[in-house]
């Protein structure tokens, strides 16, 4: 119990009526683990002023509150307890009972959810409207003051029932289990991403735009074949160290090929990536990667 105020102790039997004892037992049944509680712990005067037939030990009351899902649930309980048809509620009677519960809870200083008070107000209003004589002329238009409440109660009750039905369905990890077995050994190979050249080009467009390099004649004019050839030359040099100049040219590529290779070599020299080496006049020219 969370609260431990001053208390006097009374047993249920001493103080309670039959109904109270029955109710308490019922409540205790809701939460069997509370059943060992021998005495009711009653707090101060407020309790002694409560109507006898509603006396509930506070612990039980707390259990009681937890046992209800809200004012609608409590109302349904009160109605069912009297075997009343939901369509035929005596609002005055139910209101009175409900109010007594609310007062009781209030007196116990339980934190009462605002919804309970709201419902109390609503009940009081319905009760007062029921007491008013109905203007016979207007009867067609006038709604039964209980109609809205009854609808809400029914609506709540059907979902309360639905929840019970759902709870009763067999479900995984309770009555049912997914069957599984160990998988065989699997060599997992993750497929490599697919790329479309357009994506590459779009990416390039984006970089260039960002770098504001569209104006650069340097890039625009440069032939890709020259760039490609530059890479090829570097690749060759990387493996072979000194390479005879002439071996870089392939006659089968024709004039254009020769020009491209030559331009590539010029560009590489300009970028100080290669060196041309000629040990004697008119001797063979060799090429090597600069200082490597």
């Amino acid at each position: 119990m969370t609260k431990s105020p001053k208390q006097s102790t009374q047993s249920i039997e001493e103080n309670g009526s039959h109904e109270t004892a029955a109710l308490a037992a019922e409540l205790l049944n809701v939460r069997p683990e509370q059943a060992e509680m021998p005495f009711a712990m009653v707090r101060g005067q407020a309790v002694t002023e409560l109507p006898k037939d509603l006396y509930i030990p506070p612990q039980a009351l707390e259990v009681f509150l937890e046992a209800f899902e809200g004012p609608l649930d409590l109302l349904l309980y009160l109605i069912r307890r009297q075997n009343l048809d939901i369509l035929d509620i005596d609002v005055a009677e139910i209101t009175e009972q409900y109010m007594r519960y609310v007062e009781l809870m209030d007196a116990m200083q339980f934190e009462l959810a605002a919804e309970y008070l709201l419902m109390a107000a609503m009940l009081a209003e319905i009760k007062s409207r029921m007491l008013l004589p109905r203007a016979t002329e207007n009867e067609e238009d006038e709604e039964d003051p209980r109609a809205n409440l009854v609808r809400r109660l029914q609506e709540y009750e059907r979902f309360k029932k639905a929840a019970e039905d759902l709870e009763a369905l067999p479900r995984l990890e309770r009555e049912l289990w997914q069957a599984s077995a160990a998988p065989p050994d699997i060599r997992s190979e993750r497929p490599l991403p697919e790329v479309d050249m357009r994506e590459v080009l779009l990416a390039l467009g984006e970089v260039l735009r960002r770098a504001e390099m569209y104006q650069s004649h340097h890039i625009q004019r440069e032939s890709l074949s020259t760039r490609e050839r530059m890479s090829q030359v570097l690749e060759t040099l990387k493996h072979d160290g000194f390479v005879p100049f002439v071996t870089l040219f392939r006659p089968e590529e024709g004039r254009l090929g020769v020009v491209v290779t030559f331009l590539a070599l010029m560009e590489l020299m300009k970028e100080s990536l290669i060196e041309l080496v000629q040990t004697e006049g008119f001797g063979p020219i060799h090429i090597k990667v600069k200082s490597e």
Partner: protein
């Protein structure tokens, strides 16, 4: 062992540890050896029939087919674990059933029907279990999230579709005032999902009916693909 379609499906269903749809079964095969949907269906039927007299059965749930330990064995099988299965509070189950029957529904709408606030924890638990998800936002002030149930929810409760939920109880009208009361339900309430089975609740036998609802494959007709 012969490696046939039936064996492959048996192996895959057990290895997967979750329901497999026909589509997912199909992509177990290279294109040139991929069975047709009809071939898959008839193989699945054989897989189901081969469970006769076994401790498990093939069932179809929302996201596909799965092998499942027979419910009649649950007394023994449950003893595999020390812990009792998770229990869910009434508040959670009520919230869940409101989402199931009234989806898409906002928290405010749930609170209106239940008459109490829905705790954030409940919503969090339901989302974490992947029983519900946010499917959009209601176009009203605050743009509250609308919740709906997921296929995992159906799988968990052994259902093929929302149609298989137990039917909702009827709303009775205030007898002596019927007709003139304006008892018609607000628009949100119109499309009850269980509407198709809007009949009054089946008395008594309902429990049995529910147990029958998950189709055991091989026993009956080839059920339509759920997807």
């Amino acid at each position: 062992m012969e490696v046939g379609l039936v064996q492959i499906l048996e192996g895959a269903l057990l290895a997967a540890g979750e329901p497999l749809s026909l589509q997912r079964m199909a992509i177990l095969f290279e294109e040139d050896e991929r069975p047709s949907t009809d071939e898959l269906r008839s193989a699945i039927k054989v897989v189901g029939e081969r469970c006769e007299d076994r401790g498990y059965e093939l069932v179809q749930v929302a996201s596909g087919y799965r092998f499942q330990v027979r419910q009649s064995l649950s007394d023994w099988v449950a003893r595999l674990w020390q812990e009792r299965p998770a229990r869910y509070s009434r508040a959670l189950m009520e919230t869940l059933s409101l989402i199931a029957y009234r989806q898409p529904i906002t928290r405010g709408e749930i609170e209106e029907i239940r008459g109490v606030a829905v705790s954030t924890n409940i919503v969090k638990t339901l989302l974490e279990r992947e029983w519900v998800r946010v499917v959009g936002h209601r176009d009203v002030p605050g743009r509250p999230a609308m919740y709906a149930t997921t296929r995992q929810f159906l799988d968990y409760f052994n259902l093929k579709s929302l149609d298989q939920l137990p039917p909702l109880a009827e709303i009775k009208e205030l007898d002596n005032l019927s007709g003139e009361l304006g008892l018609e339900l607000p628009p949100v309430l119109d499309g009850d999902l269980a509407n198709g089975q809007d009949s009054p609740e089946a008395p008594g036998s309902q429990g049995d009916a529910v147990a029958d609802e998950t189709e055991t494959v091989g026993d009956g007709e080839a059920a339509p693909e759920a997807s």
